[in-house]
Amino acid sequence: MKTSTRKVLDKSFTLTSYASLALMCLVIVLFLAPIIVNGIGAVVFRATVEHDKFLYETLGRESSGYREELEKSNAARKPLYEMMAHFEKSDNYGHLVEKINAARAQCLSKLESEADIIFAALDIEDSRERLEKVRAIADAAWSPYINEISALADDSLHNGGTLSAAEILKKQSNSLPGAAKLALNSLYEKKKLSFQQKSMLRRNFTSFPMSALAQNLEKLEQANAAYNSFKKGVAELLGPSTAAEKEKLNLLRQKYGQPRENLARDVFEQSVLHISVAEKDAEGRDVVRKVESAEYFKGTPVEEMISYMQKNMPQMMQYHWTVYLGFFFDNPYDSNIFGGIWPMILGTFYLTVGAMLIAAPLGVIAAIYFSEYAKPGRLVSLLRMCVGTLAGVPSIVFGLFGLSFLINTLRVSESKSVLAGAITLALLILPTIIKASEEALKSVPNSFREAALGLGAGKWKSIYSVILPSALPGMLTGIIISMGRAAGETAPIIFTAATSTGAALAVWEVFTQATPALPWNIYNMCSEHEMADKVQHVQYGMVLTLIAIVLTLNMVAILIRAKIQKKLKN
């Protein structure tokens, strides 16, 4: 090969390897950056007044400026609630009802008074002509009434009061058939009519206003359904409007509006600016469609509400920066939608410390045996091989072993418990501790052993007075790193210790109770939570907490190791 080609190959190989190193760093950054940024967002975020309301009412914690905030937001919300009340119910409809009833009475009496014309029409031979004539009469007779109700519907749609209007129309459609029947009966008294003629009259004179009523009612109800969708969105955003309403609700997520600005903006965009409307598609099936509410409510008072909300969102929600340290120390409320992650942190702590308390003494003693007592032989190499093999067992197998042996066979606890989980984790980290401790013991210079023995220390005495203290930092490194591993392991605790919901345990409960734990709840919350999108900040917060715990432990270990190396150099 040409020398120049070889050189190019050499250079490009160097470049490639630098690129791979850079790629690794890029991966680390790409991996950690979203987790750190969003994870911090669980603690430091733009809160709304609802967050403070929750803290004050549920946890009895009053954040600074809460009262003022509450007042401001209530003041900003008041016009909206007034508009809504006005849109829903109108008190000015009393006279309209009278007008409608008067129009109806007039129409009915006109029907009676025009009996002759009607009878004349009935006498027409040609059936089509006859039908048209009757219809024309009905149209003319009912038109004032229909005008009235259409006017009412239109008015309510444009000026508010759709709910009241719908009620009025419902009442009308309930009472109209009876009134029409009475009017028709008085007609029948005047002239004997055949059954067919009667039914034709009834069909035309009753169903005509009824269908007009139904049309108007449908228009109103459609508008009401759309409005209710909008109103639901507003309630989701702001929480219930009155205390009485709040009392009736069970779930915390319904009792409070959105506690975070990003969630509030999301809900505003998704459920207030857009509403779902039930429609029929081309094939006549019911479909729900998302439409823009501003477009949909154009020209109605709701449009005004929307624009008011758009303008006054910040006042209504009272956005402000907050540091919610309670995220780490509060219990979760309503499936983690509110509150913190304390039980998970505590559970992880119990599991980790428990595993360490079991594994560290065993591991250190085994390491002492291997490095100070064991003489090379078959037994010792078998023992060593088993340590290696144990390190290679997949973590999920530990979980199954814990389930079948510790829980189903030994019955260390009724069902899952922290104890069973800690034992399982201890077995998992035991090989790491043994290996690290043995390394640490081997690095203690032999001269220390000789010096201690030479001064008349027994074997055991020399081990614990000189060798162990010298090996301690190295052992600690191994123990701390394996603690980090125990804290982050999920598979072994799924069947032995973890539960997705539950309160923080007291120390004495660890022998019998299962606990929530960070790793398991992270899985649970992003795979099996009913509202996984709503609690993303909690998911990120938990992941960051877990990573922070593990990395802090590892950093400490690295620092200790660096210190040892520095000492050795000196």
């Binding site: 003489k375 010096a451 023995l453 001064l455 008349g456 007075s465 010298s470």
Partner: protein, 277 residues
């Protein structure tokens, strides 16, 4: 293998020299080896050595590297027990008892026969704790008493003036020579009868070496000292008796002046005149 060897030494041999062998030439030997051999597996490291350390005198053991001199010294306080493949034969007598007696209390033996190693090996503790380590092993001891022992030991090792103000600082902060004197002080603190020194100056600079040599000189008389060295001048300077080992065998043993001025054996002569080594 070692177990078997121990069993060979019967009750009788343990006290054999007690009555039969009075001190030779009226001299009082603290440690005496009779046809003493050491094996590492199949390797015969020390061959039938007959060496005695006279009470209160300094005995030097010289010889080229790998001649078995250190091995022999380490057998005296049974430090070689740490080596798995090591076994011994013959007798090694300490004040009339066999050091390899099966029921010997090794821990107590090592307190009576102290040892200073080739490289200074203070524990990574404070100077005070280093000295106090031995006395504390014996059981609970009063602080004032312990203070006394520490001071005496450090004075004996001629280190007191240098470290009295920083007894609580880490021993690893001392210089190499100071560390070695600290190790000597540490060994003295348990009040041994014999002090074994395994090339105590090989890791030190000449100045520190001469201080240690002065120290050995001061300590002789009070302690029985055995020093292994590959430095013949040192042996000549500090010792009363010298033993010359070569390829595992004791070639010559006698008064230092005699050995250095008129060696009996050709090998000794070659070695001290620098023909090999």
């Amino acid at each position: 293998m070692m177990e078997k060897n121990k069993m060979k030494i019967s009750e009788k041999t343990a006290f054999k020299t007690d009555d039969k062998d009075p001190p030779k030439n009226g001299k009082d030997y603290v440690v005496a080896a009779r046809d003493f051999s050491v094996y590492y597996g199949n390797f015969h490291a020390v061959k039938n050595a007959n060496v005695s350390f006279e009470r209160g005198k300094v005995t030097a053991i010289i010889g080229p590297s790998g001649c078995g001199k250190s091995t022999f010294l380490r057998c005296v306080n049974r430090m070689n027990d740490l080596v798995d493949s090591c076994r011994t034969s013959g007798e090694l007598i300490f004040d009339g008892i066999n050091i390899y007696h099966p029921r010997l209390d090794i821990v107590e033996l090592r307190r009576r026969i102290g040892m200073v190693f080739q490289r200074p090996n203070p524990f990574p503790k404070s100077i005070y704790d280093n000295i106090a380590y031995g006395p504390r092993l014996a059981g609970s001891i009063k602080k004032s008493e312990l203070d006394g022992i520490v001071e005496t030991s450090l004075r004996r090792a001629a280190l007191w003036d240098e470290v009295k103000d920083r007894l609580n600082s880490n021993a690893l902060g001392l210089s190499g020579g100071q560390q070695q004197r600290l190790c000597i002080a540490r060994a003295l603190a348990v009040r041994p009868e014999v002090l074994l020194m395994d090339e105590p100056c090989s890791a030190l600079d000449p100045k520190s070496t001469s201080r240690i040599e002065d120290l050995i000189d001061e300590l002789s008389g009070e302690y029985t000292i055995a020093i292994v060295t590959h430095n013949m001048q040192q042996a000549a300077r500090v010792s009363h008796y010298t033993a010359f080992f070569y390829e595992g065998s004791l070639i010559e043993f006698g008064k230092t002046e005699t050995l250095f001025t008129s060696p009996q054996k050709q090998a000794t002569n070659d070695y001290i005149t620098g023909r090999f080594g």
